[in-house]
Symmetry: C2
Subunit: 410 residues, 2 copies
Amino acid sequence: MNKCFFAKFARNVFLLYTFFVKKIYLDNASSTKVDEKVFKKMAEYCIEDYGNPSSIHSFGLSAKKALEKAREDVALFINAHPREIIFTSGGTEANNLAVLGVFKAMKLLGKKPEDLHFVTTEIEHSSVSACLEEIGKEGGRVDYINVGKDGIIDLDEFKKSLSQNTALVSIGYANSEIGVIQPIKEIMKSVRHFRKENNSKLPYVHLDASQATPYLNTNVEELGIDLMTIDGQKIYGPKGVGALYVRDDVSISPITFGGGQEKGLKPGTENVPAILGLAEAVKIVSDTKVKESERLEQLRNYFFQHVREFVPKAVINGHLTERLPNNINISIPGKDGEFMVLQLDERGFVCSTRSACESSADSSFVIKALLGGPDHKDENRAISSIRFTLGKETRLSDIKNLLRTLSEIV
Amino acid sequence: MNKCFFAKFARNVFLLYTFFVKKIYLDNASSTKVDEKVFKKMAEYCIEDYGNPSSIHSFGLSAKKALEKAREDVALFINAHPREIIFTSGGTEANNLAVLGVFKAMKLLGKKPEDLHFVTTEIEHSSVSACLEEIGKEGGRVDYINVGKDGIIDLDEFKKSLSQNTALVSIGYANSEIGVIQPIKEIMKSVRHFRKENNSKLPYVHLDASQATPYLNTNVEELGIDLMTIDGQKIYGPKGVGALYVRDDVSISPITFGGGQEKGLKPGTENVPAILGLAEAVKIVSDTKVKESERLEQLRNYFFQHVREFVPKAVINGHLTERLPNNINISIPGKDGEFMVLQLDERGFVCSTRSACESSADSSFVIKALLGGPDHKDENRAISSIRFTLGKETRLSDIKNLLRTLSEIV
């Protein structure tokens, strides 16, 4: 009886401890904490300057001015022209607008769905892949390029996939689950070569930079891409806001309709407070990108160097270095990823198995792709994966504690 | 020289005075100030509880719990089931989802666009009418019911418009420009009668309650409608958030695609802070609706009773009593509405000519409709209209000052 009582008592003390102890948040690829500077900006435009930017009175003009300044800030950040920035309700809507908007524009230009071809990878986020599935249902043709064991796309396969019907290539700059960075330079080289040979402006290239924005080069001129998605909630900005870069000469049509805001591509009153917040967030990213990337890379590499000492069976998923500085993804065969997430959570570490948008699936389709495609029968690695995505509050001590805790659990 | 100097001096003193004096905001139909309680809720979920509700860890669960509580609050407010509430990025998106979502669902059920019929009024907000225009381009048939001089739809014409192909009736509960309330009871009586005679669940009825929410009955059971739009920014809630009520048995399909959030109808990470803000806003509306409606009705009626004393030529647009308690809309023939808005703004009164979403047009299509349709040649009244939409900060003294100022300008 006494033994049982003490065991229960100790357990309760532990639970109370973990309840009050500060949690270590390692799920920044799902959602980030809104930066305080960002929030202050939002406050100003919720409580004081709350006009509708389409109104002609002073409140409206003030909101309009702020909105256009925010557009300039975001444009400056990616080296675009302000008129090339379309504010959306988030990354998902920006991806929908890019993919479905180009599809629609091409149809309006007289092309039949069956004469339209799209190229993507087999590891895209659902906000791209689900749109392409829709296009498939309407008769469009979609090629899903394979990735290698390291998560990087097969460039030869990519080159061969391009055809005179290819309207759009949509690629995730860095994968949300394993953080692997795709070789955009090489991809663009092939695309430019193809365009030149065919004397065509097509295919357009859309880059989903939702995860990449805080760490990688997002200079659209240097990248040479045509459309690019930015997501507020992944860069310490607000939820419910994003931006789509649309190069000036891209043919794109609206997918929703109304008052003509955002060049008609995202109708409805502009979400001024959130847009101002997004602009503030990109300014902070711009100031801190290089240093923060270096700092997080060191933490990530420390984890990778030491993980086998603590968890001998651990396997790292995705390329070791061609990946986001804040992304750690491992599998521990024999363990259930979701159960480990819950165990880690109890011990104060907040992490995930995969993209929150894919959380209803049984296992990771991204990890399966690394192993040779969705029909791969050894689900072990795909079921046992865990993702840690570091952020600006992550310290080396957190990584050391994480390794110790992982070892205890396993 | 001296005279000129003093004139300039007086002018500058006046401008300085108006700059520092508190503006009287009378454009609450365009956008409302975020309530402080609402903003506090948003703050909590931006800075502290910032998890992604699709994540399985404690941060995710906490966000998910809050999200579902908000859904319950909104459902309770309109007497619906929580699963019938779809959170969107605002009123425009909710209207798009209702109209285009039903159109798409019907096509998926095997109907051809040319066999699909939609009924609306000639004075709808562009977020409904632009969707119906799109449907028209795809081959669907749309009837725009005429309104009388008072802005109320012709019920006979409405009844006659219903056919076995009618999929959806989309009606603005109260017009955003002239505040006129449509006879929903009579409309629903006709629809129910039609459904019974044809033994059909169709047509569905969609109500855009964006403007009506703070003042009118939004009990969906009592109204008997199938879909209803609520907009955060019109009810002292945040911009960038809205809700679409979708009755359980309504066939509706997504118009954007992704991670399956909101029953697949609004994919993308739920904008938790804004949704919590919206829920807080409806709770406040629920507590204050009756009293506030009475109070504003008195102010509105005071204006209507006295306006001719100050501006003899003034004409009231729309029905005198079947209108929102906070809506005043007049024309002053011979004056330019936009110029008056600017003059009033200089004198501290913030108002508008029409819906901010229609601000690019030369004159009001709603006022033209009252005069006998868009081909009406006497544009005078449609060019000279001004809208004052009162709010919770409006006092009788503001209305008295407004009348005096109007008289000075005219």
